[in-house]
Structures are given as C-alpha cells and as structure tokens.
Amino acid sequence: MQGIQNMNIMTKRTFLAAALVCTAMLGACSKGSEEASPAADAGGDAVKVGVLHSLSGTMAISEVTVKNATQLAIDEINAAGGVMGKQIAPVIEDGASDPAIFAQKASKLIENDGVVTVFGGWTSASRKAMLPVFEKTKNLLWYPVQFEGNECSANIMYSGAQPNQQALPAYDWAKEQGYKKMFLVGSDYVYPRTANLILKKHIEKDGLTLSGEEYQPLGGTEFSGVVGKIKAAKPDIIFNTLNGDSNVAFFKQMAAAGMGPKVVPVMSFSIGEQEAMAMGPSLVEGGYAAWNYFQSLDNEENKKFVAAYKAKFGGDSVITDPMVHGYLDVYAWKAAVEKAGSTDPDKVRAAAVTLDAIPTPLGMAKFMDNNSLIQTAYIGQSQADGQFKILWSSKEAIKPDPYDPVTFPGKTCKIG
C-alpha cells in the first residue's frame, strides 16, 4: 500500500512539474513573432521605422487598429513622395501583450533592423519595459496612448493624454455632475494604479468619498467579487481603468447583476469606439468615456482620416483616440525629420518640440518641450451604434503636465 501511495505521489509530481513547465512554455510561445514585415524592399533609399504593437493576446482587441492607423499614415506619406524624398519602410513586430516581449522586440528593431524610430506600445507596463531600451540606444519611441504621467524621458514622445488631459478632466466633470461616492476599478499594473492614486488624492482633497478600489490582473475575467463589492458599496460613479478584454467580462458580469452602465454610471478611460464595437455596443450603452478624440468630432481633417481608414480597412471600421494618436505621430515625425533635415533621433526630438502646430484629426496639434501633446479633453457617452455622443469638452486645449501637483508636488519634467 505504501508503495502504491509513493507511486501515486511520483505520478503527481511528474504531472505537476509537467503542468508548470508547460504553462511557462505556453506563455513563452504565444509570443512568437508575427513578422509581417513588408520591409523587404527596403533598399538603400528607404527609411526604416519600427511599428510595435500587440497583435495577439489580451491587448490585441485595442492595439491591432493602432497598428493599422500607423500603417495608413505611412502609406499616405509614401504615396505623397515619402519623407525627404525617401520611402518609409515599416518593420512590424508583435509585442504579444507582454512587456518583456515589447522590450525584446524594441531592441531587435533598433539593433538588428536598424530602425530610426519606433511607433508603438499601449499599456504603460509595455512602455516602462521599453524605456531603458530606447534610452540605452538613444532611439525615439512615439507612444500613442493616454497614460498616468509621472514619467518624462527624452527618448519617448508622449502623444496620448497626460492625467491632466483625461483622468482629471473626467473627474472634475463627474464632480460637477454631483457624483460624490466614487469607486475605482482597474487592471493591476502601473497605469491604473497611478491614475487611481491621482484620483484618490483629488477625492481626498475635495472631501468626496472613495467607496472602493479594486484591481484585476491584466486579462482577468472573474469579476464576481468586484461586482459584489460594488453592489454593497452603492457608488455614484465607477472610474474604470481596466484595459483590454477584461472590460468585456466586467460589463457582462455587471449587467448580469442588474448594474449595467445605465444603472450605475461608469467612466472608462480605455474604452473607445473600437472596444465598444468589439464588446457589443449594447453592453456599454450609456456609459461615459474620456478621450481627446472621438470619431464623431466634426472637423475636415477627421472626416478625411475616417474616410481614408474605412477605404483601406473596411467600411465598418471604427476609429479611436489612440489610433488617431498613432496616425498623427507618423505625420509629426515626418514634419520633424524634414525640419531637422535628418533622421537622427536626437535631432528629430529637438525639432518635434519646436514644430508649429500641424493639422490632425484632433484639430491643430503641437508638442510641448516636455515631449507631450497639447490637446483638448472630451467626455462622450456611448450610444447604441457604438459611437460616442460628445457631452462636454474642455474650454481650450490643455497643456500636458506629467506631474499632477496634488499627487507629485514639486516634480517637474525638464528635458534637454
């Protein structure tokens, strides 16, 4: 009997070890590169740039379209004669929703492919992982997504919103609406944690109530506990910093518990038109989102961009804020290269922050000397067709500030 017991244990150990090894391998392997590299024709006359987004994994829901928009800008520029008379040859890599892979692919792009700049990244975890690579190689990353601030590197152009251009305007708007009890739900990584830290400081300063704060591992789909806590806390509004397809699970499970966005208002920082479409617009209908761009923005550049994107990627495509930032980044880079007369990352950066405003789908846009974009904040409400109705906009374009004075007093961003 003892013998049998031991055998059983042996088998179990083998099984356990095998399972662990395989889990690790599964992780490692889903990260295989998806090298859809059309850079083959990159002769001596082409300028190589990197495009690095998650084309697989939990962030693919959001990042694939940013890659598309980046590619559209590159194609348009190439069709119009390229940059300084040279064609742009993009090298596309898959970051696979994993920060370590982002870092690895970034150094591959810079060191093996010799790209002069990289457009990419979405989660702050991926940006933080790539930062040392860009600083070490003195290359330049164009980062298209809203983020938590509290970072300032000469080697990254932050075109997405700083906290004072998205999270804080959204918070101020909610406060004006009379919402007093606020519940924070986010994915468990640096952006939601820092964004929520900033929100908490302001909630405290304004004497409002923080009725709960919950985190879910990135990609996590089990929200029963979080939903239970929201139900018990009865907040006036939820600030949602979940990223990727966790949102689908969150909204589904909230709806199942009778707390859809029409019952408990939700202000989301990472749900745009694309995510609303992919989730099924009925799931998020009535929910709020804060961005610096909505597809429904009424200006000429935007109409042109939306039409061009639809012509290339299908009539039922939708456009989101990070896509527009990904798109305008390429144009800003081109303008900066032409101003500098060089593709050298240092010179391009110096030119980029002194450029005049360029026309973009957001309106006229200009980078400040802290490498971030001056832009207007909007609050939209999700409609049945997946589009957002713009409810509110900041009175003027807001100057980016990576360090919220309430949360990080005394810190400023000084570059070069």
Binding site: C29, T58, Q216, A256, A257, M279
Partner: protein, 297 residues
Amino acid sequence: MDAIFLTGQLFNGFSVASLYVLAALGLALSFGLMRVINMAHGEILMLGGYLAYMAMSLFPGPLGLFVAMIFAFLGAGIFGGFLEISLVSKLTARPLDTLLATWGVSLIMQQAARDLFGATGVSVTAPAWLDGGLTLAGLQLPTLRLFILVSAIGVLLGMAAILRYTRIGLLVRAVNQDRPTAAAMGVNVRLVDCFVFALGAAVAGLGGVVLALLGPVTPSVGQSYIVTAFLVVILGGLGSIVGTTIAALIIGLITALSQIFVDVSFAQVLTLLFVIVFLQFRPQGVIAVKSRALDAE
C-alpha cells in the same frame, strides 16, 4: 461585513466553481484513464466559445443558447474524438510526447482562431431571459449565474449517471481500475479511451459556452483557464470526478471569499498558496484514486 454580501460571495464561489468543474473534468478524466496530459484542453474551451458564437449568430432567438450548448457539446466532442484517434492514441505510451504534441495542437488552434475570427475576439450576448435575477431575502442572485450553476450540476449528474448506469460507463470504470485485465476480458480499450476523451472535450465545449456568457471569446481565452483547470485536477486527486468537483468548489470558494478582504490579484496568490500548502500535507489530493493505471509507472 454584512450578511448579504457574505452570502453573495458564497454564491459567487459556487458560480466560479461551476465554471472550473466544466473546464477541469475533461482533463481529470483523460488523465485518470489514459495518463494523457492534454495541453490543448484550454483551446477546446475556446472552440466551445467560438461554436457558441456561430450558433448564436445563426439562431439569434431566445432559445439560441440551447442550440449553442448542443452545438458546442457535439462539436467539441467530435473534435476531441478526432484528436484522440489521430494523435493521442498514437502516443499514449509516452506521456511527455503527448504533452508536447497536444501543446502543438493548442498553438495551431490558437493561430487558426486568430486567422478565422481575428485577434480581437468576438462577443456573445447572453439572451434576454438570462438578464435580471432572483431576489431571495434581500440577496439578488443573477439568473445568468444560476443558469451556469444548474448547467454544471446537470453535467455532473449526467456524467455520474453515464459512468454508473450505462454499459460504456461500466467499461470505463473497468478500464480505469485495471486496463490489462479489462482488455483481456474482451473490453475494447481503444473505444473506451476515445469515448472518454471525446466526452471530456464535449464537457469542455459546454464550459466554453458558459465562458462566452461571462467574458470575452478570444483566441487566447483558453490559456486563462487552463492553469486553474490544472490546479483543480491536481488538488482533486488525479482522475477522480468527485475529487475534481470538490477541488473546484474549494478553489472557487477560496477565490470568492478571499476577495471579501483582498483584491483579485491577491486572491489568486492566496489560492495558489493554499494549493501548495494543501499538497504538502495531502499530496494525493482530495480523493486518492486507487487505479492500476496510475500505479504502473
């Protein structure tokens, strides 16, 4: 801590456990009988999710969900049977090879799903009759979660009935207890293996439908469940249905109840810690299966 919230979390624990049971049963069965570690099991869940998506697009009515369940059950079952015949049965004597081969299958399936349906995943909307909930003494139980719980109980009862009362069930038990003797007595062990593997896959297919109701269906969705499914199988005692069920309940309840005090990330840490400590004291799992198949090594 108010009582309603506490009972709510208890209920959530059962609800989470029912999903884990559906995800882990097939793994437990095929390991118990054949000592095959099926790394593609998570992708069979994913297959169930996509089958549900297709069925519910074809039959959008209120009963579409039942069509989806049948569709996913049969579809995943047939796929499982095919996988067993074409691959697993050729490698049963070599556990590590099956592991690698099924891992390869899982990668192929993920890429196929990415190519067929796109990397962003698809959304399955629960039918309207699953909205809302029952209110019992101030405690609101979402209909969707009740439905999932009932489905899991149904699957467990069905499985138990098959094993206990049908001829094929008898053969499965015989092979599980002593494969060479059963074979010597004229039992077609190949057929039994194939049946069990297909049944396990079919149940995972149902699990995929449930998962589609609660969260996103993406090419990589199987991977978020496979680790927990392995944990459940190990904790339960390899190859035991009762053990698997109890283990799923334990893990579901720990996950849900620890979330009263900590957030989801930390709840996962606690669950893993519990499993490690538990296995230190009871390495054979909740239920120790006395099967010659497991002793032969």
